[in-house]
Amino acid sequence: MKDISTIMWKEWKDLLFQSGVTGVVRPLIIIGVLGILLPLQSKASWLHLPLAGVLGILLIPFFVIITMVGDSFAGERERHTLETLLASRMPDREILVGKIGAILGYAWGIMLMGLLVGLVVANIAFWKGHVIFYQLDLFLAVVALSLVVNALGACGGVLVSLRAATVRQAQQMLTIGMIVLSFGGVFVVNLILRALPPGLFSSLSIAALLFLIVAIVAVLDLVLLGITFARFQRSRLILN
């Protein structure tokens, strides 16, 4: 854990808090959208997590990850810091998990802050005489789904960044990957749903259905993490 937190400390210092004003403004904009704009648009129904809220919770941190994760290894390679890091005692897995954890923690942390601000804003703007919390089962399911989906994005992004020669190349590959996954994913899900007996999920609540999806995506996370571990070879990274 100590090594993972060391890598996360460096990532946050290097990427996020040393880039001047933009480093502070960027998360504030996202928190503003998720915590002020969307709740004010959705009014009191914000706390029941309407579709806009669910999409915001899922997609906003995902886009944050996709725009930043390309830098994780390709950026180090481009700035000639990777070789020195690899020559240190830091173990392979700790480097990888630290990098994934840093980007995921940043994006997911911003999302949680946005939800907290949204809770306060919705309660103040549409006061019902007592404090109202988000609809708990749905809130937990959506937040859990957000975590596993964003972990998938972070793992996939790090995997791409591992072998990309430059940050630009990594970002191009991630953009193409996202397009393929979005359209391909919809197609595959559609095929699976058609193959399943009709009404199979009708007895499940939306929250239960979301938890089922969380479990499936969590398995995909583990598979992708395993692939990323396997692809992390110091000798290949040095030669790339």
Binding site: K2, D3, T6, W9, K10, K13, D14, L15, Q18, S19, R79, H80, T81, E83, T84, L85, L86, A87, S88, R89, M90, P91, R234, S235, I238, L239
Partner: protein, 310 residues
């Protein structure tokens, strides 16, 4: 404990048809600065990568600090410091944070890290600027910081890959002075890749010369000068002329002779005497006033080796 911190046996590494390191057998004793000399592309950086276990050898083996580079690379990397081809500094972070990060990597406590940052940055005259982003610094300052980072966690062996390349002479001299004093104070072994022969001559107790992946010579700079460089003589006087230069060049103990301004420069083979040659010149009509003997410098040895093997 083994007195050699690095041992390689027939260590080789190829990239396709290119043989980057070729049958390298080397022993580096503890507690010295070992200079690894060679022209660009000689295989110096690949050798460091092999010794750090960052690359697998194609054949042969290497042992660093008693650990095998193939199977115990983690153990090696836990005990060494490295300044590789690039400084490897995080330019958006401050100097203090750069050192702090590497201290954390090596599990140093916060008070230990703080004390070491102050000690090294003060030694390098960088303490006052510790809060500045490294990206705003000059190349010389960055290299000093990178050397400090390599030494930060008190490693017993440090690899430095051309630390003064690209620096102006003043910055390079300052860095070398800082390096020499730190190495003497901390009692560590340094494996120094360089093609700067003046630097090697000044800093290194032993040097190895590599070309196209092959080790050509190894030893103390004085030994190499003795073995490979022969010796030089400068003869001053009146009446020295081109005819005498031709005469000297015909002598078996002379490898080169030149008339420079008003004196003759003669390069002799190993263990040759200058006396008979002076007599020859005097007999030819010259009035010899002074003879100065000197040894070839490391640069001449290096060039001789490069010519011999090409």
């Amino acid at each position: 404990m083994d007195t050699y911190v690095i041992r390689t046996e027939h260590l080789s590494r190829s990239f396709g048809v290119v043989q980057a390191v070729n049958e390298l057998s080397l022993e580096v004793p503890a507690g010295i600065i070992f200079g690894f000399l060679g022209p660009n592309g000689a295989g110096k950086t690949t050798t460091i990568h092999l010794l750090l276990g960052l690359l697998e050898p194609s054949s042969g083996r290497a042992n660093v600090l008693g650990f095998d580079t193939r199977s115990q690379a983690d153990q090696i990397r836990a005990r060494i410091g490295a300044l590789l081809e690039f400084s490897g500094l995080y330019e958006r972070m401050s100097a203090e944070d750069n050192l702090d990060f590497y201290g954390r990597i090596y599990h140093m406590s916060a008070p230990e890290r703080g004390a070491r940052i102050k000690e090294l940055l003060s030694h390098m005259d960088l303490w006052e600027r510790r809060k500045e982003q490294v990206g705003k610094w000059s190349r010389g300052m960055k290299q000093k910081l990178a050397v400090a980072r390599a030494l930060f966690h008190h490693p017993s062996l440090v690899f430095l890959d051309e630390p003064t390349v690209g620096l102006d002479p003043v910055a390079a001299a300052t860095l070398n002075d800082d390096l020499a004093s730190l190495v003497a104070r901390e009692g560590i072994t340094v494996f120094l890749n360089t093609h700067n022969l003046v630097e090697a001559e000044k800093l290194c107790a032993q040097v190895g010369v590599i070309r196209q992946g092959k080790l050509l010579a190894v030893g103390h700079p004085d030994e190499l000068r003795q073995e490979k460089g022969g010796s030089q003589a400068e003869i001053f006087g009146h009446g020295l002329n081109k005819h005498m230069v031709e005469l000297l060049r015909k002598q078996p103990e002379v490898t080169a002779a030149e008339l420079q301004n008003s004196h003759l420069t003669v390069t002799l083979r190993e263990k040759s005497e200058i006396g008979p040659l002076v007599s020859l010149i005097v007999k030819s009509g010259a009035d010899v006033e002074e003879v100065r003997r000197g040894k070839a410098n490391l640069e001449e040895v290096f060039l001789t080796l490069m010519e011999e093997k090409s």
